[in-house]
C-alpha cells in the first residue's frame, strides 16, 4: 500500500455528529436548563471556568451541557471562546485579605486571628449515598430553604455584628510577625509574565508558574503534588490557610485612571507552609540566615480546594528546588519544566486525542522501518544458523579422517 489520502469521510463525520446529538437526547427526559447546571452543578462549573481560564459561570454551564459533563471538553470550549475575546482592560492586583470570605481554615493553629470558619464543606460528611436526593422535588427544596433561612436569621441576630462580616486577617501575616515565615520577596519583574501571549520558557519566572498552574488540570496537579508528599519528594507541608470567598476585581478607569470595582469573582486560595530543606552542600554553608518556613501559593477560580492545595504544594516544592539549585533531584514534582509542561488538561488531552486522527502515512513509514529491521534480523539469524550448521558439520566431520587436499578449504572457512 502506498500513499493513502486522508480526504473523504465527510458524510460519515456529519452522521457521527448527528448521532452524538441523538445520544445526548435519546433518554427523552426534559432538557436540562443551563441555569440548573450553574446552580446545582456548581463545582463542575467552577472546574470548567478554572481550567478554561475564563470566569463566566453562564458560559461554563453551557459548555458543560454541550459536552455532556465532560470536564476537559467543557474547559476546552471555554478556552477556545476566550481566545476570541479582545482584552478590554487589565485588572489590578488584589490581595487575598480583601476576600469576602465564606470559608477559611488553618491546620497550623487552632486559634487563628479571626477564628476558623468552616463555611459550606463536605469535609465532615460520611461518604454515603443520599437516596433522598433521588426524589427531591420543588416542594422539598422550598421547605429546606425556608427552614434554613429561618435558622440562619436566628443565628445572625445573636452573633457579634461589630466586625464587618466576611473579612479576616491572613494567617500568613501573623506567621511573618512571629518570625517563623520567610518575608515576602519583591517580584523581580515589573510586570507579571503573560503565558497567554508568550510561550513559557525555562527557567520560568514565578508569575508564569503560578499562571500555568492556576489554569492547570486538577487531576494532573493533584497527582504530582501527591507524588511529592507521599514519597517521591521531600515536601512536608502544613496548610497555613485555605480560604474560599468572593474577591473584588478592580480596574483603572481608562480615561480618569481612578480605581473602579467592576465586580467580584468566587475564588479559592491556599497557602501551604513548609520548612525549606537544603539539599546541596553548596547551599548548606551559605549565608547566616535564620531558618524559616517557606510559603507555597495556590489559587483557583471558583470553589476548588483540591486544586488550590495541590498548586500550593507544587509551588512550594518548585520554589524550594530553585532556591537550592536542585531540579528534580527530589522527585519529579520538584522539576519545574516537567510539572509545568504536563499539567495543562487542554494541551494534554488534545495531544492524546490527536492519536485518533489518521496517521496512515506515519504508520506506513513505521511499517517500512519495521519490515527492514525484520528482514535484517531474518538475515542475521539465517547467517548465524549457517555458521552454526557449518560449525556442527565441521565438528561432525572432525573425527573423520580428512583427505589431505580438503584441509586448506576448511581453514579458509
Amino acid at each position: 500500500m502506498g500513499y493513502v489520502a486522508t480526504k473523504g469521510g465527510t458524510q460519515a463525520i456529519l452522521n457521527a455528529e448527528l448521532l452524538l446529538e441523538y445520544f445526548r437526547l435519546k433518554g427523552g427526559s426534559s432538557p436540562i436548563q443551563t441555569v440548573q447546571i450553574q446552580d446545582q452543578m456548581r463545582l463542575a462549573v467552577d472546574r470548567a471556568m478554572s481550567e478554561g481560564s475564563l470566569y463566566a459561570p453562564e458560559l461554563a454551564a453551557l459548555a458543560l451541557k454541550q459536552s455532556e459533563g465532560d470536564a476537559l471538553e467543557a474547559s476546552f470550549l471555554l478556552r477556545a471562546y476566550r481566545s476570541t475575546l479582545p482584552r478590554l482592560a487589565y485588572s489590578l492586583p488584589s490581595a487575598g485579605a480583601d476576600m469576602r470570605v465564606l470559608r477559611r481554615i488553618s491546620a497550623t493553629f487552632k486559634d487563628i486571628p479571626g477564628g476558623q470558619l468552616l463555611g459550606p464543606t463536605r469535609d465532615y460528611q460520611l461518604k454515603l449515598l443520599n437516596k433522598l436526593l433521588v426524589d427531591e422535588s420543588d416542594q422539598t427544596v422550598r421547605e429546606y430553604l425556608a427552614q434554613f433561612e429561618a435558622q440562619a436569621l436566628k443565628q445572625i441576630s445573636v452573633t457579634d455584628t461589630k466586625r464587618p462580616t466576611g473579612y479576616y486577617p491572613k494567617v500568613a501575616d501573623s506567621m511573618r510577625e512571629q518570625g517563623i515565615l520567610a518575608p515576602l520577596q519583591a517580584e523581580k519583574e515589573a510586570e507579571p509574565y503573560d503565558i497567554t501571549r508568550k510561550a513559557i520558557s525555562f527557567p520560568a519566572p514565578r508569575s508564569a508558574r503560578l499562571q500555568t498552574m492556576a489554569r492547570g488540570d486538577v487531576g494532573s496537579l493533584l497527582a504530582l503534588a501527591y507524588s511529592s508528599v507521599r514519597g517521591y519528594g521531600d515536601a512536608h507541608p502544613t496548610l497555613g490557610e485555605l480560604r474560599v470567598g468572593y474577591l473584588p476585581v478592580q480596574v483603572a478607569h481608562p480615561l480618569t485612571g481612578e480605581l473602579v470595582e467592576i465586580g467580584e469573582i468566587m475564588a479559592t486560595e491556599s497557602e501551604m507552609v513548609s520548612r525549606v530543606t537544603v539539599f546541596s552542600e553548596e547551599a548548606e554553608g551559605k549565608g547566616d540566615e535564620v531558618p524559616k518556613f517557606g510559603l507555597g501559593y495556590g489559587f483557583s477560580f471558583g470553589h476548588s480546594e483540591v486544586k488550590a492545595i495541590s498548586m500550593s504544594i507544587l509551588d512550594r516544592v518548585i520554589s524550594a528546588a530553585k532556591e537550592n539549585g536542585v531540579h528534580g533531584q527530589s522527585g519529579p514534582a520538584a522539576n519545574e519544566e516537567f510539572v509545568l509542561q504536563h499539567i495543562d488538561g487542554i494541551e494534554a488531552s488534545g495531544f492524546t486525542a490527536h492519536f485518533k486522527l489518521p496517521h496512515y502515512v506515519t504508520f506506513q513509514a513505521d511499517i517500512k522501518v519495521l519490515e527492514r529491521s525484520q528482514a535484517h534480523e531474518a538475515l542475521r539469524q539465517s547467517q548465524a544458523a549457517d555458521r552454526r550448521d557449518a560449525l556442527t558439520t565441521s565438528h561432525k566431520l572432525g573425527p573423520l579422517p580428512i583427505a589431505p587436499g580438503q584441509l586448506d578449504d576448511d581453514e579458509e572457512e
Partner: protein
C-alpha cells in the same frame, strides 16, 4: 438608548468575526480580492490631512474598521499619513484608542501599521520584521489605496504579478494609488524570509487583498 447601544455592540461583534475571517482568507489566498463589509455601526470615521488632496479628508472607513477588528490592549499600532507617523492625540489615533484601548507605539515596536494613503514614504522600512526565533513578532501593515482590480485597464495603474504559496501559477492585480516606491520597499522587507512584514491593501470601495511575506511580487 440602551438597546441602540446594545445593537451597535452586537453589530460590531458580528462584523468583527466576519471581517476577521476575510482578513485570514486574504492572507491564505494572496491576491484574491475580498469585499469587506460596510461598517455602518461605526459612525463617521476621523479626518486626516492629506498632502495630495491639500485638505482634510476622511480615512478609508473599510480599512480603518478592518484594522479595528485586530486591535485590543494587548497589541500596539502606528498610524502614518503623508509619510509621517501621527502623534498621540491625533484624531485617527484617538479614534482607534477610544474604541479598542490600543496603545500607540514606536515604528519598530508596533504590531500593526496603518498608512492612511498608499505611500509609506519609506516608513515601511522602519517596521519590525520579527526575529529568526520569533518571526511572528513582525508587524502587519495596512495600506489604503484607491482601487484594486483583477484586470489591467488603467495605464497609470501599478501591475503586481503575484506568485508563491496560496496562488495557482501567477496572479495579476492592478493597483491604483499605491506609491511607486512602495513595491520596492515591500520586496526589500521580505528579502530575509521568514522575516518580513505582512501587507494588506484596501481600496476605497472596501476591496481587500493580502500580500503575506511568502508572496513574491514582480511587475
Amino acid at each position: 438608548m440602551q438597546t441602540a447601544w446594545l445593537q451597535a455592540q452586537q453589530a460590531q461583534i458580528r462584523y468583527s468575526a466576519a471581517t476577521f475571517r476575510q482578513l485570514l482568507d486574504s492572507l491564505a489566498r494572496p491576491g484574491k480580492i475580498n469585499q469587506l463589509e460596510y461598517p455602518d455601526f461605526l459612525g463617521e470615521p476621523p479626518l486626516y490631512y492629506s498632502g495630495t488632496a491639500g485638505q482634510e479628508i476622511t480615512v478609508n472607513r473599510y480599512a480603518l474598521s478592518a484594522l479595528l477588528t485586530l486591535l485590543d490592549r494587548e497589541v500596539s499600532v502606528g498610524v502614518a499619513a503623508n509619510g509621517q507617523w501621527l502623534m498621540q492625540g491625533d484624531p485617527v489615533v484617538r479614534w482607534l484608542a477610544l474604541r479598542s484601548g490600543v496603545p500607540l507605539a514606536g515604528p519598530n515596536e508596533a504590531a500593526f501599521a496603518f498608512f492612511c494613503d498608499g505611500t509609506s514614504g519609506g516608513l515601511l522600512a522602519q517596521l519590525s520584521l520579527g526575529t529568526l526565533l520569533e518571526p511572528e513578532a513582525s508587524a502587519t501593515a495596512i495600506y489604503c489605496v484607491e482601487r484594486l482590480a483583477s484586470e489591467t485597464a488603467h495605464p497609470e495603474g501599478l501591475v503586481l504579478k503575484l506568485s508563491g504559496p496560496g496562488i495557482l501559477g501567477v496572479k495579476t492585480i492592478e493597483v491604483l494609488g499605491l506609491g511607486s516606491l512602495e513595491l520596492e520597499l515591500i520586496q526589500a522587507s521580505r528579502k530575509g524570509y521568514p522575516l518580513g512584514v505582512d501587507i494588506y491593501l484596501v481600496d476605497a470601495a472596501g476591496q481587500c487583498i493580502g500580500l503575506p511575506r511568502t508572496t513574491r511580487i514582480s511587475n
